[in-house]
């Protein structure tokens, strides 16, 4: 079907909308688009732009509606198919996402974004081979595009192919919007020959190495295990970290080496992101430094929290920690977090008290929780990770989604049942029920995207079986 010829008025409106969209102002584009669609309801170009505007304005339903109308009028519109693919992926409708993603890639074989989106969708469907292939195709077209490199890294690391994975993972700082590991002014201030990124080799005598505790809190906790290995290489080590991470890092390096403020950093001869250490140490599945615990709670603080637990938890009750949501601003939060009510089978157990270490907006759900098991809200009293560690010390187990608290329990040797989305973060690898990073962790994976029933049931069954064994041990028949 040939599109009807466009009137001048329509062309003007679309060009105005296009300008606004290019400037990232979807609200500025929408009046012109409304007008255009009123003039010519079947103008596929206008409909497609309306889809883009809705997408940029964060209205996925609107985007799906407009893109959908576009492809009905113009089945060969790759942009609309690609947009539909991305929206469906975000909504967890992965079959539809794949269908539209593939159509987009087939219509425009040279569209690197379509390939990249398809790689992400394939990852989300755990079709890792296809994801790797799509990313490689995209990289052949655009070798310097960070997105496909990073997606390739995630897919390779997830499948345990660490060597190539770590190299690709270095692209994480070049992703659009990703903060650089070091503030640029810090290197610029050090003249024409700023300190280089560390290559992993011992520094010349007296050389000072800056490690930057980058990425999320969970990453810092996970990679902090490399600090003693770096120190063993002999450099004069300093660590830049946010204040929240100090309780973690000071257990592995002297506190005077930790700097919370970029301004207070002394001179350094090389630098490296903490998350870059696995690459420098050539970590493979077999050589992951898995000796735990490498973190522990302050004994006095742990005793204080133990008394608090004794006050609040009935004596015979088991004490199980609970975290059901991560930081809501995390890009993947909709995937990894769940609503408290989804844990119903778990919260139906007898003589188990759940101790919530949940913080942030999700903790508000406790006010609406009326399950059988007591749920004790420690969130309001948690001031920092010292408190979190001290509480964990008094618990039998932690049940958690993929958050920093789960890493903390793992690093402390506190048994942790981890609830993972269908396509988890790369560090939890594929299929296996345990983790080479944290021997105390048990992994419970979604068996279908977005469906928490199975992993929650597994954890509940495990706790129930443990309770039965205890009961039998306490009251012999």
């Amino acid at each position: 079907m040939t599109p009807p010829p466009m009137t001048t008025a329509l062309r003007d409106l679309l060009s105005r909308a296009g300008v606004a969209l290019n400037e990232g102002r979807p609200a500025g584009a929408e009046p012109a688009l409304r007008h255009a669609i009123a003039l010519e309801p079947a103008a596929a170009e206008a409909l497609c732009l309306a889809g883009l505007a809705a997408h940029l304005a964060g209205r996925p339903d609107g985007a799906i509606r407009w893109f959908g109308r576009t492809v009905r009028l113009q089945p060969g519109n790759a942009t609309a198919h690609s947009g539909l693919g991305e929206e469906f992926r975000r909504a967890g409708r992965l079959d539809e996402a794949t269908r539209h993603g593939r159509l987009a890639a087939a219509i425009e074989p040279g569209d690197v974004n379509a390939l990249h989106n398809l790689a992400i969708t394939s990852y989300d469907r755990l079709e890792i081979g296809r994801s790797v292939a799509c990313s490689r195709c995209a990289l052949r077209l655009a070798p310097q595009m960070p997105g496909p490199h990073f997606e390739l890294a995630e897919a390779l690391l997830l499948s345990g192919r660490f060597e190539e994975g770590w190299d690709e993972y270095e692209w994480r700082f070049r992703l659009p919007g990703a903060p650089p590991p070091l503030p640029p002014h810090l290197l610029e201030a050090r003249g024409t020959a700023p300190p280089p990124q560390w290559d992993g080799r011992p520094l010349p005598d007296g050389g000072r190495l800056l490690l930057v505790a980058d990425q999320g809190f969970g990453d810092v906790i996970q990679f902090a295990r490399y600090l003693p290995l770096v120190e063993a290489l002999g450099p004069d080590l300093i660590v830049a970290a946010s204040a929240e991470m100090v309780p973690i890092l000071r257990q592995l390096v002297d506190e005077h080496r930790i700097h919370e403020d970029w301004g207070s950093l002394p001179d350094f001869q090389a630098w490296c992101a903490l998350s870059g250490l696995p690459r420098l140490f050539g970590t493979t599945l077999e050589t992951i430094p898995s000796a735990t615990p490498y973190l522990d709670a302050d004994p006095e603080l742990a005793a204080w929290w133990k008394r608090r637990l004794d006050q609040l938890v009935p004596r015979r009750y088991r004490r199980i920690g609970l975290v059901w949501a991560g930081r809501p601003t995390h890009g993947n939060d909709h995937n990894r977090s769940l609503d408290l009510h989804r844990l119903a089978p778990l919260l139906d157990l007898d003589e188990v008290a759940f101790v919530s270490l949940q913080i942030g907006p999700a903790a508000m759900e406790i006010g609406r929780y009326f399950g059988r098991a007591p749920l004790i809200n420690f969130g309001p009293e948690i001031a920092d990770f010292d408190d979190t560690m001290a509480i964990l010390r008094g618990l039998e187990r932690l049940v958690s989604v993929d958050t920093a608290v789960a890493h903390l329990a793992g690093a402390m040797g506190v048994p942790v049942s981890l609830l993972l989305p269908f396509a988890p973060d790369w560090r939890w690898l594929l299929e296996q029920g345990d983790s080479p990073w944290y021997p105390v962790a048990t992994l419970h994976r979604q068996t279908a995207p977005g469906c928490w029933d199975e992993p929650v049931r597994e954890v509940a069954a495990r706790l129930r079986a443990e309770s039965r064994r205890r009961g039998a041990a306490q009251f012999p028949p």
């Binding site: 609040l312 009935p314 004790i376 009293e381 001031a383």
Partner: protein, 600 residues
């Protein structure tokens, strides 16, 4: 003397305003004219002769000339009281006491009047004054005893009745009053023995027989209860006893006879009382006649409102808002914890809306040998009143808790907690074997924050029941809880919502030892839920808790008769028969109903 009606004082004394409430005591003319003493004698004589008209006229003349004449004020107060103008009498007595604060007779009369008109806190002030003024006066003690007994402190009331009996020859009325007091403490046998003594001394007092009848009913001796009620009715056939009589008949399995009694009572010129209407509603409800039942509820509640009771909504809303504003996590982090360990039996707080099953839970728990029943303890709300003084704060509760940040109030929570325990132990019959006692004042969830501060480890059992069932049941009872919210369907709904939201807030802001327990679960599966409840309280399972209906304790609340029956499911989801009548609150309640895990 002719008085323009527009000049008359608004208090109802019949005096001119300029000689009554508008009068400043410093303006009192002095000395009084000479003719007054003769006029006062005439007034007293007229009253003695039953000529109230002349007495009132004489008092008026005296007070016109000498508005501060204590004798005339006292006489007029007596006349006003006799003619039912209680508020005006209270005003005059208070005036006497400003002029002569040590006037024992006026203090006693005022205390009695205030008690009669249900103004308990003021009555208590005056009754305590009476005891201070005359510690060896039996009437003073008897008055204080009555006030305390009515105000949910029967144990302290008992002390003062016994003082009164020591100070004067035992009389039938005081013995009967003490008997009633003991009945409220579930000491039915002792009460019965006292009633026996009382009727020997004074066999013709209607209220004694009625009180005895109620005592026997509480003790499940329904035949005796009927017999004593009949005796009382013979003595004073005009007194409205139909509500009790009907309740008794209904308990004996004769609902039709009960309804006939109520219908007959409704024919009296003044019409049915609110008690009778609500009793009728309950009987009709059990008979499956919801439309008639609800009509009776509405009528009963309207009468209660006509008597001046209504939801103190502004006060409730203000306190709720201030509590939510005060109890927020960052602020609480800076509060000290109690430093010392409390000694002796510790409280278990059973909270929830009235009619949600709090009495049932207490009955179950107090069947356990380690748990004493505290019933509806007024202690927590009394403590919120005393708290600013105890912490030396110029602010009210809850803001007064800010004093806990001061260096010299670091033991403030210990003091508050110990005061709570001190007062509670006066009211709760705690034996050596008791490790815990219950405090089941409905709507105590309002003070969940204070509870958690004073008793960080005290178990809080929140009894949940379908909110619409709660509302139907609240409509069929005369309840004062929750700022008198139960005087109307809509206000009951609004207060229940306020409490549901406040509990959510507390749970979001602080760690609590909190167990939600559904009434429906208890009815559906008693044993596992009783086990869960006891485990939560750290006490071992005891089979007696499953046979709570055998617990001989008498609960003072509206549910006392129900908890002497085995569990039945007839009260589950009763609201379904009332959906049409609940329509005005359905939209309001729906979100909360779903949040609590129920459906409509």
């Amino acid at each position: 003397m002719l008085t323009n009606p527009e000049d008359l004082c608004g208090c109802g004394s019949g005096l001119r305003a300029s000689r009554c409430c508008d009068l400043s005591e410093v303006d009192l003319p002095d000395p009084a004219p000479e003719w007054i003493s003769a006029e006062a004698e005439r007034a007293a004589a007229a009253l003695q002769d039953g000529d109230t008209g002349s007495a009132r006229k004489a008092c008026g003349a005296i007070l016109e000339a000498a508005p501060g004449h204590a004798g005339a004020l006292a006489l007029l107060a007596q006349l006003l009281q006799a003619s039912g103008k209680t508020d005006a009498a209270v005003v005059l007595l208070a005036r006497i006491l400003r002029l002569t604060p040590d006037d024992l007779a006026a203090v006693q009369q005022l205390a009695g009047l205030l008690l009669q008109s249900g103004r308990l806190p003021e009555a208590e002030v005056q009754a305590r004054n009476a005891v201070r003024l005359a510690p060896d006066n039996a009437t003073s003690h008897a008055l204080l005893a009555m006030v305390l007994t009515t105000g949910h402190c029967p144990h302290i009331g008992e002390f003062h009745y016994r003082q009164a009996l020591e100070l004067a020859e035992p009389d039938g009325i005081t013995l009967a009053n003490l008997a009633w007091n003991l009945k409220l403490q579930s000491r039915i046998d002792e009460a019965r023995a006292l009633y026996r003594q009382s009727v020997v001394l004074a066999p013709s007092i209607h209220l004694t027989w009625l009180g005895w009848a109620r005592t026997e009913e509480a003790g499940r001796a329904l035949e005796d209860a009927s017999r004593f009620l009949a005796r009382g009715k013979r003595l004073d056939p005009d007194r409205p006893t139909a509500a009790f009589e009907a309740a008794l008949l209904a308990r004996q399995g004769a609902p039709e006879a009960a309804l006939a009694v109520l219908d007959a009572a409704a024919l009296r010129p003044s019409g049915p009382t609110s008690d009778e209407l609500l009793e009728k509603a309950r009987i009709l409800d059990r008979q499956g006649r919801p439309d008639e039942a609800f009509a009776a509820m509405l009528q009963g509640k309207a009468l209660i409102r006509e008597a001046g009771k209504q939801y103190a909504e502004a006060e409730a809303a203000d306190l709720t808002t201030r509590l939510a504003r005060f109890f927020i996590a960052p602020r609480l982090r800076r509060l000290p914890q109690p430093e010392t360990r409390p000694l002796g039996a510790q409280p278990v707080f059973i909270v929830g809306a009235p009619r949600s099953g709090t009495t049932l839970v207490e009955q179950i728990l107090s069947s356990h040998p380690a748990i004493a029943a505290g019933d509806e303890l007024p202690v927590l709300s009394q403590l919120t009143v005393a708290l600013p003084r105890m912490l030396g704060s110029p602010l009210a509760y809850p803001e007064a808790l800010s004093e806990l940040w001061m260096g010299d109030q670091q033991d403030g929570l210990d003091c508050l907690r110990d005061e709570y325990l001190r007062q509670a132990r006066k009211l709760v019959p705690i034996d050596a074997g008791h490790r815990l006692f219950t405090d089941k004042m409905p709507f105590n969830e309002m003070h969940l924050g204070l509870i958690a501060l004073m008793f960080p480890g005290a178990p809080v059992v929140h009894v949940l029941r379908h909110p619409l069932d709660v509302l139907v049941s609240m409509m069929s009872q005369d309840l004062t809880h929750g700022f008198q919210c139960a005087t109307e369907l809509e206000t009951a709904a609004r207060h229940c919502l306020r409490m549901i939201e406040l509990v959510a807030h507390y749970r979001q802001q602080m760690p609590l030892r909190y167990l939600p327990l559904r009434y429906e679960d208890l009815v559906g599966r008693l044993e596992p839920n009783v086990r869960r409840l006891l485990a939560f309280l750290d006490v071992g399972f005891n089979r007696r808790c499953l046979r709570f209906e055998e617990n001989r304790r008498y609960a003072r609340t509206a549910s006392y008769a129900q908890v002497t029956e085995k569990l039945h499911s007839r009260s589950l989801y009763r609201y379904r028969a009332y959906l049409r009548h609940l329509e005005p609150v359905l939209a309001l309640m729906e979100p909360a109903i779903r949040t609590l895990g129920y459906e409509i």
